[in-house]
Symmetry: C2
Subunit: 194 residues, 2 copies
C-alpha cells in the first residue's frame, strides 16, 4: 500500500536491534485517517471472504482492527494478555512470547465471542516471527472458527513468520513488506508501491 | 444516550463485587456500529471545543477513542501501562491503580505526542473512583496540554470519581450514568433516556 510505505519512509525510525519505530502513526499516536484507509484496503483484499468477525490482540492491534471492522460492518474481538495462568473454563487460551517485552504471555479469549460459525479476519500491526499471529490462529482453531486470512500492517519479510504461516495454508496480506532495514541504510520494501 | 442505556439493560450483566460486565459490546467484543454512534455523540457534545487530540489508556479505551477520533478528524494517543518503573526521559509518567487487576501500573506517554499546543478530549470506557481519568489528566498537566473535557461510556455515579473530577473544574460527559446496581434488582440510570 503506497500510502503506508510512504508514511513509513517519511516517519518511521530504524533503531538498533531490528526495531522499526512507527509509534508516531501506528501504535502509540494513531493516525486515524491512515488507519481508516488501511481498513478500506483490507476490505478490498478480503471482500469475497464473508468475514463475520475481526480478531486482534491487545493493545496495538485494536485501533487498526476497529477501523477495519467499520468497512466490514462486523464486530471486533481482541485477545487479552493475562498475567495469571489461572485460566477459567470460559476462555480459550494460548501462549505468546513477546519479543518487545521479553516475556511469555497467556493470551485469552472468552468462548462466548468466537464460535464455529465465525469466519475470522485476523488483524495485527506487525508480523515478524509470527508469535502473535500463530497464537491468534490457535485461538480460532480451538473455537472451530474458520480463519479466512490475516491482515498485517507491516511484515518483516526477512524473518520467517509470514513464510511459515503461509506454508500452513493461511492467506496473509501485508500492506507494507520490508525486505531489509538498517539504521544507516534505511528501509527496502519487497514490492515498492503496488 | 438512549441506545447505550438500552444496550446495557439488554446485554450488561451485574456481578457480585460491583462488577458490570459489558464485554459483549464494549471492551472485549466491540460493537463497532455502537462505538461509532458513541463517537458521534461525543462529537456533538464537544463540537465547540476545537479538540486537537483524543487521549485514552490501553487497552479497553482504544476502540471507543478511535471511533470517536474519526468524527473529530484528529489523532488518538493512548497511554501505555508499563510493568517497569524504569521511566525514560522521553515520556510523561503517572501511577494508576487498577481495581480490576488489584495492582499499581506505571502509565507512560511519549513526550513527542502530547504538547502544550494540544486541546485534549480524554476518552475511557468506565468512570468509577476516577483512578485512570486522574492519571490521564495528570499526563496532560505534565505536558501543559489543555484538557477540554472527558468523554466516558459508563459512569458509576454512586462512586465519587466523577464528582471529584468535576469539582476540580473539568467537564465530564458520560453517555450512561448508573445511579445504582445490584445482581438481584438490576441497574438504575441517573437520567433514564435523555
Amino acid at each position: 500500500m503506497k500510502l503506508l510505505e510512504e508514511k513509513i519512509l517519511k516517519e518511521g525510525k530504524v533503531k538498533p536491534g531490528d526495531v522499526l519505530k512507527v509509534d508516531g502513526f501506528l501504535n502509540h499516536r494513531m493516525d486515524i485517517k491512515l488507519l481508516d484507509k488501511m481498513g478500506r484496503e483490507f476490505k478490498r483484499l478480503y471482500k469475497k471472504s464473508r468475514v463475520t468477525k475481526i480478531l486482534t490482540i491487545e493493545a496495538s492491534g485494536i485501533g487498526i482492527a476497529c477501523m477495519t471492522a467499520r468497512h466490514f460492518k462486523v464486530p471486533v474481538v481482541f485477545a487479552k494478555k493475562s498475567a495469571t495462568s489461572n485460566i477459567s473454563d470460559d476462555v480459550y487460551s494460548t501462549q505468546v512470547f513477546s519479543y518487545t517485552h521479553g516475556n511469555m504471555n497467556n493470551v485469552v479469549l472468552s468462548k462466548e465471542y468466537l464460535t464455529s460459525d465465525d469466519k475470522v479476519l485476523i488483524i495485527d500491526d506487525f508480523l515478524a516471527v509470527g508469535a502473535a499471529l500463530s497464537g491468534l490462529i490457535d485461538l480460532c482453531n480451538q473455537a472451530g472458527a474458520e480463519v479466512v486470512g490475516c491482515g498485517i500492517a507491516i511484515e518483516k519479510a526477512y524473518q520467517d513468520g509470514g513464510r511459515k504461516i503461509r506454508e500452513r495454508g493461511y492467506r496473509v496480506e501485508s500492506l507494507a513488506v520490508i525486505e531489509g532495514m538498517d539504521p544507516e541504510k534505511g528501509i527496502v520494501f519487497t514490492r515498492q508501491f503496488r
